[in-house]
Amino acid sequence: MILRLLSRLAVLVASLAVSTMVVFGFMVVLPGSPARVALGVNASDASVAQLEQEFGLDRPKGVQYLDWVGGLLRFDLGRSYVSRAEIAPQIADRLQVTLWLVVTSTVLALVIAVPLGVLMAVRHRRASGVLLSALSQVGVAVPAFLAGVLLVALFSVRLGWLPANGWTPPVEDPAMFLEQLVLPVLSLGLVQGAVLARYVRSAVLDVMREDYIRTARAKGLRPMRALVRHGLRNAAIPVVTVLGLQLATLLVGAVVIERVFVIPGLGSGLLDAVANRDLILVQDIVMLLVTAVLIVNFVVDLLYLVIDPRLRSVR
């Protein structure tokens, strides 16, 4: 058990180390100089060179890499090339925004998917189950941004019930914050929920065919009770896997929704930074995302152990 944990941790650290190299490598081959974008292309070569020196871009790549990684280890993310502001608070602001979005929509997805998926499985031979199943297929087919555009067209532009876009921090104006959060969370949550519900359905269906459910039924448990008592924990493994994947996708993938709803999250920050060739900011954001994804995977691995005691003894 401990050994297994340690090996997982080692994989996490090694992946992070490799990621820093890959991320830095990409920045090296990305065409376009941050100094030139900042000064305008017609700035003289001398002033571009001077600014690059100021940024430390004239140093050997290896030194730049070590300097950057060293900073990361000390939680010093450096200063933006473009705005000259400290990066850490900028990223913290944007991360907060993205986390609100990702966490609330994931909760919404779970709230939709678990009961719906179980219901679809239990009733998979009945009309209501088939209908729900068809509906969830539609949900899977609709991309989140399209859902967003449609929701805005209906609830903001036509009915005028909710703001079309924007972001207000919860501390500033909680009511406004909630109003603005509804549509983006719905667009992400409904679609994610539909996807997840499909997995819950098939996991539950598989479990229901297992011998131990038949045994439970034979003992006299009713189908739902047998499922809840013996089935759900077994069905949870594939669902948790998908949920982890979805969380990771959402962290980065929320960018499209951030664009549609003009939300200053991490993804749109990353796009802006790439456009401005604010390389250090790009590196920091990408590393943060990589770290988040790796941690999510790590947690998913741990959850397997919690859910299924049998896995604890297997190496």
């Binding site: 974008v37 000064l39 292309v41």
Partner: protein, 513 residues
């Protein structure tokens, strides 16, 4: 003449007030120009506690335009937080700004500016001649962006009194005075400060906060020396997605869409609730041809391209019929504008025969487009029109700004491109320097530009007209159209400018009826 980077539609917007000044060409006396002190704004209703929210398309990357070249920075700050000694009115004429009057010496090398006695910075400090001298000196010594070269003509600045400053040029330059209406002319307090985080100027608004990725908030400067603006707070909200911008107006989050990125979106705004402002900009959408590369080293091929393009059809197809045909590198708000669209009218037969004469029928050219709305919309139309007369066109699209700037702009590794040059009075920049990406090299042009810059206002108009005609005759490039200024706003908003021709978005002029 220094070089400048072209700015694109997304960064065009700049407004000056809708004052009813005399139209057209500059008629000011060459020796002196005076006018009544400018109000700095036309907020006709007077100050109120009203807020206004304006939707814009490009968020600044920084607040410091001395070190960062983006056009979104002066758009937010110039004329609002910072003032310039002179400014441009709706007709392109130079009028007093922070300076109440100015005089020019007979040799046109010394400019004397008078400052109002009651002007202060938002910190409360008086605006003095010493601040002006400091600001000009900073451009020359501390600014890092390429535009700093605009201040090169200045050889000395003296604050002759707290309310007067004398600027001496090394040689006469009309463009220097014009450039003083742009960001290089901004006046900063000599005490310095943190430009990137706490900009301080003498303008009608003060900087309040910047919510990165979302908005910039400005508050009325109640100590402003001129006429105080109507709106107490102004929120400049930034939208990368044009649909989101339009939706924000439709759902009442904002009051004004400063630039309609896709003209075909106009139909969704019912005229019962919204007003549409339609005017001109400084954005010439140029179909550039690399003059140093075959086949465009041959004037006949360049002319063939101009004859092959049906400009009216093109504007209708790719820009919903909005936008004006120009024929050369001059927008209608410049004093030397004349209609040159008839120099090479649409004529496919002529285009074919010119290509034949040049022996270039079937030649393949590469059209390298920046990934900007007008370029990606018009590129395929240009391709099809050129292919109808016998050229083969290969389109590739480059990310803007970084990739396009490096490949096309810096390295001139292209045959043709499409880009809107939105700098004011940029004919000399784009065609006057053989190392510029157009690679246009015509010895006849330089003397015209020099005479225009150094002569009287009348000489300037005469020579610039000749220069514009020369470019059209010589087919230095094709000028697809002039970007329209298209704004949509709630019906009650007043003071929105018809023509977007200045770097700053003049917020002080706005009101609500």
């Amino acid at each position: 003449m220094s070089l400048r980077r072209p700015r694109v539609l997304v960064s065009v917007v700049g407004f000056s007030l809708l004052a009813g000044c005399s139209a057209g060409s500059s008629s000011e006396e060459s020796s002196s120009a005076t006018a009544a002190p400018s109000s700095g704004g036309g907020g006709a209703q007077g100050p109120s506690n009203d807020p206004i929210s304006i939707g814009l398309v490009a968020e600044p990357a920084s607040l410091d335009f001395t070190k960062n070249d983006g056009a979104a920075i002066p758009q937010a700050e110039l004329g609002n937080i910072y003032e310039t000694l002179v400014k441009q009115d709706q007709d392109g004429k130079i009028v007093p700004g922070l300076a109440t009057r100015w005089t020019v010496s007979p040799d046109r090398k010394t400019y004397t500016f008078d400052l109002p006695a009651n002007a202060t910075f938002s910190t409360g400090a008086k605006v003095t001649g010493a601040d002006v001298a400091y600001s000009i000196d900073q451009v020359k010594t501390k600014w890092t962006i390429g535009l700093k070269a605009k201040m090169d003509p200045v050889s000395a600045v003296d604050a002759t009194s707290p309310t007067q400053v004398k600027v001496t040029l090394s040689k006469p330059s009309n463009s220097w005075l014009f450039d003083m209406t742009t960001r290089v002319g901004a006046i900063f307090p000599k005490s310095g400060g943190d430009l990137a985080n706490k900009p301080v100027g003498s303008g009608p608004y003060t900087f309040t906060r910047w919510n990165r990725g979302d908005s910039i908030v400005l508050t009325r400067n109640d100590k402003y020396w001129g006429q105080k603006p109507h709106f107490k707070t102004v929120t400049l909200k930034y939208f990368k997605d044009p649909t989101a911008l339009n939706n924000a107006l439709l759902s009442g989050t904002i009051d004004v869409v400063s630039t309609l990125q896709a003209p075909e979106a106009l139909s969704q705004f019912p005229t019962s609730k919204y007003q549409v402002i339609e005017g001109t900009t400084n954005g010439e959408v140029v179909l550039s041809m690399n003059n140093s590369r075959a086949p465009f080293t041959d004037k006949r091929v360049r002319q063939a391209v101009r004859y092959a393009i049906d400009h009216k059809g093109l504007i209708d197809t790719c820009w919903a019929g909005k936008g004006q045909q120009i024929g050369s590198m001059v927008p209608p708000t410049d004093p030397w504008y004349e209609d040159l669209t008839k120099v090479t009218p649409y004529d496919q037969a002529k285009a074919k025969s010119l290509l034949q004469q040049a022996g270039k029928v079937g030649a393949t050219v590469r059209l390298r487009l920046p990934n900007l709305p007008y370029a990606t919309a018009c590129g395929p139309v240009v391709k099809s029109m050129l292919e109808q007369v016998g050229l083969k066109v290969k389109i590739d699209t480059l990310e803007f700004p970084a990739a396009w700037l490096t490949t096309v702009f810096k390295n001139a590794d292209y045959d043709m491109s499409i880009i809107a040059h939105v700098e004011p009075r940029d004919l000399p920049t784009v065609f006057g320097d053989p190392t510029y990406y157009t690679r246009y090299n015509n010895p006849q042009l330089e003397p015209l530009l020099a005479a225009a810059d150094q002569g009287s206002e009348t000489d300037q108009v005469t020579n610039m007209k000749k220069a514009a005609r020369l470019l059209a005759d010589d087919a230095a490039a094709d000028f697809l159209f002039l970007l329209p200024n298209l704004m949509v706003a709630d019906k009650g908003i007043t003071g929105l400018p018809k023509n977007a021709i200045t770097e700053g978005f003049d917020l002080a002029a706005l009101g609500r009826s």
